[in-house]
């Protein structure tokens, strides 16, 4: 039985960060990764998070996806206050409302391509069991990897694996899709294809936030947020390339 979705406020931003800071404890004391971040992303935006290594891009993605918790501030994603969610509710929310794409794909090696997508639906319990197989096949077909459904991830190329990861991220019709350096492990041609796939999701109603260092692919996004030393150093829309 699909569980009742957590509440969503209409007309609210898809993602809202208010005075969010994150520090990590280390042998030499607290190391700030993010400082007083204020960010609002509207539904349907495709936002690129850029910056040098160590600027806090991955930390920001982790906070938005609930993988990590902020030291200070408030985070609202798809209308849900992540800062006050219990860990058990976080997992359920993530399965139902968020899709994640990782740099190294993070597909389960002992499951086939199809089973990787089905697993996400099984945990979230939003798609009825009878519909899961069909939906998974449709997603894989849309992303051009339906022919590999019965293969294991290690039998696919990097680009194909990343397409499967995108299919898995979309399995439960999430409002928000986040990706952390999704093209970092791909050649330039494949990287462009995958980035077009991701940014294309914004046109069909998803909010897309991608941490990337691919400068030449930024025109695919509607907005670019630049991080430097854990702070937002720039936030501007991109001219449309349509």
């Amino acid at each position: 039985m699909p569980q009742a979705p957590l509440s969503v406020q209409e007309n609210a931003p898809a993602v809202a960060l208010r005075d969010v800071s994150k520090s990590y404890s280390g042998p030499s004391g607290a190391a700030p990764a993010l400082r007083a971040i204020n960010l609002r992303v509207q539904p349907g935006e495709a936002v690129a998070i850029v910056g040098r290594s160590g600027s806090g891009k991955s930390t920001l993605i982790n906070l938005i996806s609930g993988i990590d918790r902020a030291t200070e501030g408030e985070i609202h994603v798809a209308g849900v206050p992540l800062h006050s969610l219990k860990e058990s509710d976080m997992a359920r929310w993530r399965g139902q409302s968020l899709g994640i794409v990782f740099q190294f794909f993070q597909l389960l090696p002992t499951l086939t391509v199809l089973e990787n997508v089905l697993l996400a639906m099984e945990f979230a319990r939003t798609v009825p069991p009878a519909d899961r197989g069909r939906r998974a096949q449709e997603l894989l077909a849309t992303l051009g990897v339906a022919g590999h459904a019965q293969k294991f991830p290690q039998q696919l190329s990097g680009g194909e694996q990343q397409r499967v990861a995108v299919a898995r991220a979309l399995a439960n019709k999430p409002a928000v899709v986040v990706a952390d350096e999704p093209t970092g492990n791909l050649d330039s041609g494949t990287a462009a294809e995958v980035m077009k796939l991701l940014t294309g999701l914004a046109y069909v109603g998803h909010t897309v936030i991608v941490a990337t260092h691919e400068q030449e692919l930024l025109p695919l996004f509607s907005r670019v947020v630049t991080l430097r030393d854990g702070r937002i150093a720039g936030d501007h829309p991109m001219a449309s390339n349509e």
Binding site: S88, T110, A169
Partner: protein
């Protein structure tokens, strides 16, 4: 469509088949062992009780001057007596291959009417004729004879006669012949008469009514019957009341079974730790995948549930695999132990709980043990699972921040040691197996060594080679005259021995002796003071002095079992040959596997035998002999016995010290065999556990192996690093095994001291730690090489990317 999460687990099992196989295999062995022990315990407990009860053991035996028909009729008419039979017991010798073996014959007036202390006919005649015997099956094996054979036997100094072994019986009321070193036979009064024993019936076997036993104790009932017989003019020698429902070797049997069960329980505990260790290793390899599942919507509960079910299924599979071999092993074990316990197994069927309980306990133990690791892993955050930081582990530093360097030792060895120190938790976890298994392994052999040390100390105190007991007392001078001319004899001392009983009730001696006349029997032994031939270790007080009068030294069994822990300074009263003797305890001497004995000052027994004690005219019925060095004791003893009998001095019993030691070894053999089996089992479990743990550890270190190779290490050098790390665990565990073994040894020795009142020393078996250390070092090398080679097949890129 099957669920992807369970499909993932099944394929994960297939991927880690080696480790899973080790886990399942080891758990199955533990389940098999525990099932075997529990089933065997259940079968033997039931069958030994049933077998013994089937003999209808007498509640009491009254020894009197004659058990004639009038006495039997009188006893049967007693209102509290349910059944009564006359019987007798004589001792003699039976010819084995090249020597005479001790023989006891139970005399049965009518085999067709034998109900009390009955025997089960195995083969042959049920009722022997006047020239035949029935023989106990254990005795037949000991003798190396077969049914129908003619054997020679001697009683009370008569010349040897031939009789036929007409049938074989099983007597559950006697101790095993192989341990006692004595043949038991059954004969009619006619045969005994032919053998020169015209009046062999000298005891009445009684079974009391249940309602009588419910309202009064056995001793009171027996005393009442004995008083009536006394009033009729019968002379009562003794009332023997064996412990009710207890086989003569009950304590040994029970102790053995309890020890087996205890080790079975330890094995179950080991199964829990093994599961925890292996699950820790398996879970480490699953950490990233747990993070992925949590990232895509799985809750900690979802993840924990998956792996708990996984462990439960593996444990259940192990139980299924182990139970059937366990039942088969139990049957073999039960048969082996039944032979040593002289139990005839009518049925090997065990109740269902004996194999359901080990399986259920194994599953519950495994799940419980793994649950901590699973819950810890499942509750890790997604970030912790996905972000690997090798630098977060403690650097290999010593206290004070010093770094470990080892001179000119090769880098691969140094690195292996540093890695072992860095992975301290894994080091201690791996060493645990070696420590616990080693503790039990070494502890078992230490206990056996302690026993051997004790018996050696005691035997060291026996500075004679043989003992001869006579049917009738003779003067020491007569004996010496016959024995001293024999060149083999170097020394001869008088040590008379008479059966005794506890403080009399109304003039009647009561003992807790079994029908064989040995187990439970109390003896009063006269001494030669000072003595050249006997120097028993003194546990408390002192040995006897020439000036002592009415003094006694007790052995532990007499002190604890007969006289309520009597200590030096206490007084005791014993009944001997109708007379009550009061003695002052001056010491407690250590003896093993000897019946309860009171060593009395020379005046005591001499007066009982009717003579003075300070001259050559002293009467004695037992002498100790030391032969000249280099003499073959058995041959020399035969020569002495032949000479005595030629002189008309009938020999009742004669045995060498080596015969005594054979008996000691036979008693100890049961326990030492059990210790060996348990030690072997511990070695298997510990090495399997270590192998599994090391295999998991190597798998977890794939990234470190990748780093080594990336910076130029050859495959051989990478293996050396891993093997060195494994050897560090083995050495650490072997060192930790020593204090563990010490603790276990102390605990077991204390338990044995409490149970037997014997002053068991704390002794170390020096070979045991050496054997153990060698075995685990070999195991560590073998256990780490195979997974290391597998890990080296992974490319550097794959290893570094995790």
């Amino acid at each position: 469509m099957s669920s992807p999460r369970w499909t993932k687990l099944l394929r994960d099992v297939h991927r880690a088949l080696g480790r899973v196989f080790v886990l399942v295999g080891t758990l199955a062995i533990i389940c098999m062992a525990f099932t075997a022990l529990l089933v065997a315990y259940s079968v033997l407990s039931r069958e030994s009780a049933r077998d013994y009860e089937a003999t209808h053991p007498a509640d009491a035996q009254i020894l009197l001057d004659r058990a004639d028909e009038q006495a039997v009729a009188s006893v049967r008419s007693h209102p509290q007596v349910l059944a009564a039979e006359a019987g007798g017991m004589v001792r003699g010798w039976i010819a084995a291959k090249d020597f005479w073996m001790p023989l006891q014959i139970f005399v049965v007036p009518d085999f067709t009417a034998l109900q009390i202390n009955s025997v089960q006919v195995v083969s042959g005649s049920r009722s022997p004729t006047s020239d035949a015997l029935l023989i106990d099956s254990g005795g037949l094996r000991l003798l190396g004879a077969r049914e129908g054979a003619r054997v020679r036997l001697r009683l009370s100094g008569d010349s040897a006669r031939q009789v036929v072994l007409a049938g074989v019986v099983h007597d559950a009321g006697i101790a095993p012949a192989s341990i006692e070193g004595r043949v038991t036979a059954y004969a009619t009064t006619e045969l005994l008469s032919r053998l020169g024993q015209p009046s062999p019936l000298d005891r009445l076997k009684l079974v009391f009514r249940l309602d009588a036993l419910a309202t009064s104790n056995t001793e009171a009932l027996a005393l009442d019957v004995a008083r009536n017989l006394g009033a009729m003019g019968y002379s009562i020698r003794e009332i023997q009341i064996p412990p009710r429902g207890a086989h003569p070797h009950q304590l040994l049997n029970d102790s053995l079974l309890v020890v087996l069960i205890a080790f079975g329980v330890l094995g179950l505990i080991a199964s829990g730790v093994l599961t925890r260790t292996l699950m820790g290793g398996l879970l480490e390899s699953q950490v990233r995948e747990m993070g992925i599942m949590k990232a895509i919507g799985a809750s900690s509960r979802d993840v924990a549930h998956m792996y708990l079910v996984f462990v439960a299924i593996l444990a259940a599979l192990s139980a299924l695999i182990g139970v059937l071999p366990g039942i088969i092993a139990a049957r073999v074990l039960a048969r082996i132990l039944a032979t040593s316990m002289n139990v005839e197994l009518a049925s090997l069927t065990a109740p269902g709980w004996t194999f359901i309980v080990p399986a259920a306990v194994l599953v519950l133990t495994a799940v419980h043990a793994a649950s901590t690791r699973i819950l810890l892993a499942a509750n890790r955050s997604v970030r912790e699972c996905l972000v690997r930081n090798a630098a977060s582990e403690n650097p290999a530093t010593l206290p004070g921040g010093k770094r470990l360097t080892i001179g000119r030792v090769p880098a691969s060895f140094q690195l292996g040691v540093r890695l072992a120190l860095r992975h301290r938790r894994a080091l201690l976890s791996n060493a645990f197996w070696v420590a616990i298994g080693g503790g039990l392994f070494i502890g078992s052999f230490n206990v056996v060594a302690s026993w051997n040390s004790l018996t050696a100390d005691v035997n060291e105190g026996r500075r004679y080679d043989a003992e001869i007991q006579l049917h009738e007392p003779a003067t020491l001078s007569d004996l010496a005259a016959q024995v001293r001319p024999l060149t083999e004899v170097a020394a001869l001392e008088s040590w008379p021995i008479v059966p005794a009983a506890l403080a009399p009730q109304e003039g009647l001696a009561v003992s807790h002796t079994y029908p064989d006349g040995d187990h439970g029997q109390l003896y009063l032994r006269g001494t030669t003071v000072p003595t050249e031939l006997v120097h028993l270790p003194i546990e408390a007080g002192r040995w006897l002095r020439p000036t002592d009068r009415n003094a006694a030294v007790l052995n532990p069994r007499a002190s604890v079992s007969m006289f309520h822990n009597a200590r030096p300074g206490d007084s005791i009263r014993v009944m001997v040959q109708g007379s009550t003797v009061k003695l002052r305890v001056v010491g407690i001497a250590t003896e093993v596997l000897t019946g309860a004995t009171v060593y009395a000052s020379p005046d005591v027994v001499a007066s009982l035998l009717g003579s003075g004690h300070e001259d050559a005219g002293t009467l004695t019925n037992s002498v100790l002999i030391r032969f000249r060095s280099g003499t073959e004791s058995r041959a020399a003893l035969r020569a002495v016995v032949a000479r005595l009998e030629t002189a008309g001095l009938a020999v009742r019993a004669a045995f060498t010290i080596s015969d005594l030691e054979v008996g000691q070894r036979a008693h100890a053999q049961v326990v030492s065999r059990a210790a060996t089996v348990i030690s072997a089992l511990m070695l298997i479990v510990a090495t399997c556990g270590l192998s599994a743990a090391l295999g998991s550890q190597v798998a977890r270190q794939s990234r470190e192996i990748g780093v080594l190779r990336a910076i130029g290490a050859k495959d051989r050098e990478a293996i050396q690093v891993l093997v060195t790390e494994a050897l560090c665990a083995a050495v650490t565990g072997a060192l930790l095994a020593l204090p563990v073994a010490a603790l276990i040894t102390v605990a077991l020795i204390q338990l044995i001291r409490f149970a037997t009142a014997l002053p068991m020393p704390m002794t170390i078996a020096p070979f045991a730690p050496v054997v153990w250390t060698g075995a685990v070092l070999i195991c560590a090398v073998l256990a780490s090489i195979a997974p290391s080679v597998r890990a080296l097949r992974v490319t550097v890129r794959e290893a570094l990317s995790g």
